[in-house]
Each structure stands twice: as structure tokens, then as C-alpha cells.
Point group: C2
Chain length 336, copies 2
């Protein structure tokens, strides 16, 4: 049986940084990272694939980052963990014994349960290269692009989709303003006016009630009764933690349905299993309350703590501070 | 060998409340509490023994609180814990097996290393009944009482020592005002003027450099050069966590030298051992930083969490908020 001191499950931001952090703290330990993706992306770069970068290949995290840090990479999917025997089973049939396990299985984008949301060319903001290539091809051919959700992902997508294209781009946002969960109204208004100047149409205080078309999307109908043409619909409305494996192996989850961890990023159920990133439950630094914000900055901060604490509890998570920045047109917006 | 599901070490506020909390959550579990004291006191009531209450006997916590909650009480001193075998050894020689252990060994008052601090009638604010009876007898005979430390314990002692006595009572405080670590200056000044009206002499911005006398204390010399007569000196300058046992059995301690716990009150070193109260390291709710404040309110809040989490992690410690109140003369002062 294959054996590693530390097995990291998941190869996106959290898994990668947890592995590197663990290797740097404990250079004598063998760290093995298992991820199901052939290639992984810089998550914050995904909207830019559709404009500034031009392709998923320009947004890749090179696997050399792992090998340069002495981390062994296995590309396979973990299907089970035997917590008593301390082994991980992968789809290929192999087993890997571990001493410490770091769960970093990330999150999946939400596909809203709107009538017609299963039609062709209705996309979510996936992190998969093949999916993003299909999505990019569809966006490149689209005349009318509708983005559901005016949060920072939706706004970035809208801004990027306008670059080098003469497609009609619309944002549908349920709140009175785009970016309203993150910014004060005066800054939302400023971002909106830049979007409008760049030709993005904004439909705020409206929801999408149905996605229209036959096999393929042809438009959306809003709660206001308006209908908007669409060749492509992009849902940018958040993500949910990937807890299927955690549930299978009996790790306790919390109010946000993510894996509950203590302030050392140890799961509550098993002192040898840590969790970090989007799969781990978060708490606000300010209120101590459960927080569902998913940011790579938070995920990597947690990953550094999880990796460092693997064999000796030394770093403490004081809670999440949502710090982020984005660019709309030529104007940067940031918030802490 | 005696066997309990939960062994609580320590019978003051934290141990008592941890035991009760645990019993209420898990009524089917056998909770056994070991404390070395024959009797225990309401800690917040100790200064009032010297005036309002009149004797330590008026400040006792009845053992019936334990028996009424189905908790077995053993009066003995724990000298060792075998974490591998999960047994506790007491001075009497007996061993007790446990499934979960809650450490609530509290704190001990600081005796400042001032020349002469070992003289007779130099007291610290102990929680022991016999000691407090000796102290009360000395206070009752004293003409001149000097209190070192103008924090809330020192101020309460000064105010109580004036009740029904015509002794001279002086407070020596190193800071510009009494109560300054807790209150804004305007409230400190108000408390000081009440103390002064009641005949307490205040020596602020001065330290005690030496405790004078032969075998027994006769006075103190201040950093200003002043000498003050004293038959009794009371040091109310804080406490240090009782970590001797924790150190013996290898539990990790933190920057405040208390036992480090996660936000579920589990010690970092052993998932079956919890710590709460003055022996456990605290963090500020507001800053997340280490905090050394020792209050029964905080200790019992932690104890409720520790007891509740013994068999199923369900309650989380969000950090310490120092809330307290006191009375000086007829005026109440409170702070949160």
C-alpha cells in the first residue's frame, strides 16, 4: 500500500497551499496530494479567461509548484476514507495510508432551480478546464449574453464578456444594486455607471423566473415580465461546499453545511483530519458568527493554518475577514 | 478501580459549573468531581467576607449543589493523570478511570517578590476557608491595613475593611488611578472620591518597595520614599493559572502560561481532556488576542461549554468579553 505522512485531498487553492505550508513546516514529512482534475486553475482568474486572458490555458496553476515543493501528486478521485485504518481509497482502486489528512475539496457553483436551467448554453462558473473551454466557445459565438447575479463574479464576467466582442451583455440582479453585498451604495452606483458606459445592461431588483428556448436557451423571462434574448446564460450566484466525501465518512458539518473545524482547522470529528478552504465552515472575525463567503484569500489563509498545524498545533484561525478587490473597466474597487 | 465517565478536577466556579453542565447534557453519564478543598467559596464573595458577610462560612457553596445534580464528590488531591490509560491518581493512592477529563484547577493569587513579603500578616487573596479565617482575625485586630493593588479586588477589600471598623485603610496603586484597567478615568475619579469620603487613603502612581517589620509586618515603604504603618498588608494584584498538573502530564500551555484550548475548550494535546476557568488560556472576543483576565463570569461561561462538549461538540467559545460590576460605598460601577 502507498503511504504518506500527509494526504491532501483537493488541488485548488486550499489544497495546494495546505500542501506547501505543511511541507515547509515539516520538510521531513512526505506530503501527497490527490486531485481529480487533470489541470487546475487560478480561481480568481476564471472571469478573465473570457476577455483579458482569452483561454483557460492562460490561467493554469503549473503542477511544478507541487513538485518544486516536494509534494507528490496523484490524479485520481478519492471515494472513501477509512478513519480507523487511516487509509484513503481512490477510484482507481488503490489505497493510500496517511498519518494526517487535509480535506480541501472546495465548492461547486450553484445552478438555480429555475425552469429551463438545464437547457444548453446555460452555464455556471465552474473551475473545470474542459467546461470552461466549452463555455468560452459558446460565449464567443453569442450575440446575447445574460448573466444572473450582479455580485463580483457576475460583474467581472459582464465586464470581461464585453472585451473584444460586440455581444449584448445583461446582468440580472435581485438587489437594488450590483455589488451591494460588498460595497456601500455610492460605490455600487459608480461601478454600475462604468458598466453601463461599457454597454452592459443592468436589470436590478428583478429575478429570472424562467429560462426560455427549446433545447438551447433563447432568452430569459424576468419577475417584472420583461423578456431578454439570450444565446448564453451564465449563473454567478454563489457556490456550495463539496461535502459529499465528508458526509460519507461521518465528519460533522455546521450551519452553513460546511465541515465544522476548530480554530486550528481540525475537524471536530477526527483529530487527524483537517479541513480548509470552501469545504470548511467559516466564522466572521468580527461577530464570530457563521459566514458563507468563499474567497481564495480566505481559503489560502486557512490552508496555511491547516498545513502548519498538521503535526504540532501552532497557528490559530481568528476568523474570517472578507477582503477583496476587483476591477470594472479601468477602475479598481476594493473592500475590507 | 473507581470508574467515571467524566472526571472534573477542581471544585470552584469552573469545575462546579462544568460538572453540572455535563450532567444536564448527558444525564446518563456518571460525573465525578475531585477537589482538594474541604469547602469551597463563591469566589466573587471573598472581599465581602471582610465586611458585609462577616465570615467565610457565609460565603460557602453548598456541596448539595453537586449531589442534587447527581455528581459524585471526592475530596482529595489529584497528583497525576495517565493519559494513555485514562486514569487519574489521587494523593490518597486511589485511581479513577475516566472517559473524559475536565481540568478546572483554577488560579493562585500572586505574592509580589517585594522584600519582606514573607512577613506575618502579609496576605494574598486566597480562596481557602482556613486561610481566610486567619486573615479575617488579623484584619479584625488591625489598626492599619495596607492594600497593594487598586484594581477591583483591592477596591472591594478597602471598602469592605472600612465597614464596622475604625482601622486606617490605604490603597497603593501603581497607575494614576484605581480601577484604571477597567474604567474610563471619569468613573475612576468618582470611585476614588467615594473611597476617600469613606476614609480610605489612596497612594496612586506609587509602588511598594519594601514591607517593613521584624517577624510581623509593621509598615510599607513606597517608591516615593513615604512610609505607611501597617498591621496587615493585603496583596490584590492578580493571579496565575494553576498549571502544575497540566505541565506534569504534558498539556500544551500558551502565551499567558495557561492551558491552551481550542474554541470547544478541548486542550490542544489531548482530545479527551478539556480545560476551563482560570487554568485555561483565554482570547479576547474583540481582538482574538490572548487575554489574562480572570473572572468567574468568564470561567463559568467556559465551563458550560466544556461540560456541554464532553461527548459531542456542540457549543463554541467565541472569546472572552470582560463584563463585571462592583459596588463602592452605595454606588455601583459596571463595565462591558
Amino acid at each position: 500500500m502507498k503511504k504518506a505522512d500527509v494526504v491532501v485531498i483537493g488541488g485548488s487553492a486550499a489544497g495546494l497551499v495546505a500542501g506547501i505550508s505543511c511541507h515547509r513546516r515539516y520538510p521531513e514529512k512526505h506530503v501527497l496530494l490527490i486531485r481529480k482534475e487533470e489541470q487546475v486553475l487560478v480561481p480568481c482568474g476564471i472571469p478573465y479567461i473570457f476577455g483579458t486572458l482569452g483561454s483557460p490555458e492562460k490561467d493554469l496553476i503549473p503542477d511544478a509548484l507541487l513538485s518544486n515543493n516536494g509534494i507528490e501528486l496523484v490524479k485520481d478521485e478519492v471515494v472513501d476514507v477509512d478513519r480507523a485504518k487511516k487509509t484513503v481509497a481512490v477510484k482507481g482502486g488503490q489505497e493510500v495510508a496517511y498519518d494526517k489528512l487535509i480535506l480541501a475539496t472546495g465548492s461547486s457553483p450553484i445552478r438555480l432551480p429555475i425552469a429551463g436551467s438545464d437547457k444548453r448554453n446555460v452555464f455556471v462558473v465552474s473551475k473545470e478546464v474542459a467546461y470552461l473551454n466549452d463555455m468560452l466557445a459558446a460565449v464567443n459565438e453569442a450575440k446575447d449574453i445574460v448573466i444572473i447575479g450582479g455580485g463580483f463574479i457576475g460583474v467581472e464576467f459582464a465586464d470581461e464578456c464585453k472585451k473584444g466582442r460586440d455581444a449584448n451583455v445583461s446582468i440580472i440582479e435581485a438587489l437594488p444594486h450590483c455589488l451591494q453585498l460588498a460595497l456601500d451604495t455610492e460605490f455600487c452606483v459608480e461601478a454600475e455607471s462604468i458598466l453601463t458606459e461599457r454597454g452592459v445592461r443592468l436589470f436590478t431588483e428583478r429575478r429570472v423566473e424562467a429560462i426560455l428556448g427549446d433545447d438551447q436557451v433563447s432568452g430569459v423571462r424576468l419577475s417584472s415580465g420583461e423578456e431578454i434574448k439570450a444565446d448564453v446564460v451564465i449563473m454567478g450566484v454563489g457556490a456550495v461546499p463539496n461535502v459529499a466525501l465528508a458526509n460519507t465518512i461521518g465528519l460533522q458539518t455546521g450551519t452553513s453545511r460546511a465541515v465544522e473545524v476548530d480554530n486550528y482547522m481540525r475537524t471536530l470529528s477526527d483529530p487527524n483530519i483537517f479541513a480548509c478552504g470552501d469545504v470548511a465552515e467559516k466564522r466572521s472575525f468580527f461577530t464570530g458568527r457563521c459566514s458563507a463567503i468563499m474567497l481564495a484569500s480566505v481559503a489560502t489563509a486557512e490552508a496555511r493554518i491547516a498545513g502548519a498545524n498538521a503535526f504540532r498545533t501552532c497557528c490559530r484561525n481568528l476568523g474570517e475577514i472578507g477582503v477583496w478587490s476587483t476591477i470594472v473597466g479601468e477602475r479598481a474597487f476594493a473592500c475590507a
